[in-house]
């Protein structure tokens, strides 16, 4: 198995180069963006064709690889639908958290609504962040995540009532 590329570094480098171009020559930046668009479309079409020829079983297998799964998601080609992906991601998170139940109440193309229930004690710090992360990692189209059942943090400002006395 060939070594996995450093995806994060590659993406960061693409953005750095574009920014550099934009500073000296905005026209070139636009052309470079068009270039990226064309190349991505080309490889995306290749991926789609390959999946089609390999059939659903092989597609599932490919989606089991982390790098391939990300690329398939990027191109909207992932063989597993968004609802299943998000549900599974929430189940994995549930196992890590122990004692919380994370229920996917609703999912549309852009919005996911999650209900948190379980233990009586205060939810783990950063729980909302963990849920959001789990969802966006497996469903890049979701732009809004609503989480229910996490108590609002206490207001930061305490109102001072006039004439308060000990």
């Amino acid at each position: 198995v060939p070594e996995s590329p450093d995806v994060d570094a590659a993406v960061q480098q693409i953005e750095n180069l574009l920014e550099e171009l934009g500073k000296t020559d905005p026209g070139s930046r636009r052309r470079a963006e068009e270039l990226i668009h064309l190349l991505m479309e080309l490889y995306g079409a290749g991926l789609a064709r390959a999946l089609e020829m390999l059939g659903p079983e092989a597609a599932q297998q490919l989606a089991g690889d982390k790098l391939l799964a990300s690329l398939l998601l990027l191109h909207g080609l992932h063989p597993v639908d968004a609802r299943t992906r998000v549900t599974e991601a929430l189940q994995r998170l549930e196992r890590k958290l122990e004692g919380y139940r994370l229920q996917l109440e609703e999912i549309s193309e852009e919005v996911a609504r999650v209900r948190v229930s379980g233990k009586d004690r205060a939810p783990a710090p950063g729980l909302a962040g963990l849920i959001e992360r789990a969802i966006t990692d497996c469903a890049p189209d979701i732009t809004a995540i609503e989480i229910e059942g996490i108590p609002q943090p206490a207001p930061a400002l305490v109102q001072i009532t006039s004439g308060a006395a000990r």
Binding site: V7, D8, V11, Q12, I14, E15, P26, G27, R30, E33, E34, I36, H37, L38, M40, E41, G44, S70, L71, L73, L74, H75, R133, T136, D137, P140
Partner: protein, 201 residues
């Protein structure tokens, strides 16, 4: 979100080709805009008004860019046409342009592949230029001498270089097979009519 998904915008966003911007500063430019010549790369750049005005003086911008002027002049006496015959012009159109970096006169001909370039023998040019002092006022890189065989015989014009490319583009667009040269006639006549309108003739 996975870093990789940041590449999604390239898939989603259609290439921003249509919203044409100034190729020097990226500001928006209207449909009718001026051009600046990138002398080093021999490229015509679409320019917004402020950028255009920056490079109207010779030597501005380190001589790298020159704004294309608007002068259009018809050279009288071209009617006899004899001296242009020496140029032996295919499809009846040629642009003659001095390149400042080499100092040479270049002749361009429209063709199905765009503008074809050929080196003009210097003595041929000297002969032509000697006959008309106006030709010595031709600005290198940004103005061209357009010689063309129109309905009224051979005509010679001093035109901005972007006008030349416009004509090349029109002809190239329509060029199909052997009829290409014949169809080109209509474009050339229309183009000459446009020039006449510009000088109010």
């Amino acid at each position: 979100m996975q870093t990789l998904f940041r590449l999604r915008r390239f898939l989603d966003a259609p290439p921003a080709r249509k919203a044409a911007g100034c190729e020097l500063c990226d500001a928006e430019v209207p449909e009718a805009h001026s051009h600046v010549v990138d002398i080093e790369h021999r490229r015509l750049l679409c320019a917004c008004r402020p950028c255009y005005l920056l490079f109207t003086r010779s030597g501005a911008g380190g001589g790298k860019y020159r704004s294309v002027p608007e002068r259009v002049m018809k050279l009288e006496d071209g009617s006899s046409g004899a001296r242009w015959e020496a140029l032996d012009i295919p499809v009846g159109v040629a642009f003659l342009l001095r390149q400042s970096d080499t100092g040479r006169m270049i002749a361009f001909y429209p063709s199905p592949a765009g503008a074809m370039e050929s080196l003009l023998p210097l003595d041929t040019w000297e002969e032509i230029a000697a006959a008309d002092p106006l030709l010595t006022t031709l600005e290198p890189d940004i103005e061209a001498l357009l010689v063309c065989r129109g309905e009224l015989g051979i005509e010679a014009w001093i035109v901005p270089v972007d006008a030349c490319y416009e004509l090349v583009g029109r002809i190239r667009h329509q060029w199909t097979g052997f009829a290409g040269a014949r169809d080109a006639r209509g474009h050339i006549d229309a183009f000459l009519a446009g020039l006449r309108e510009r000088i109010g003739a």
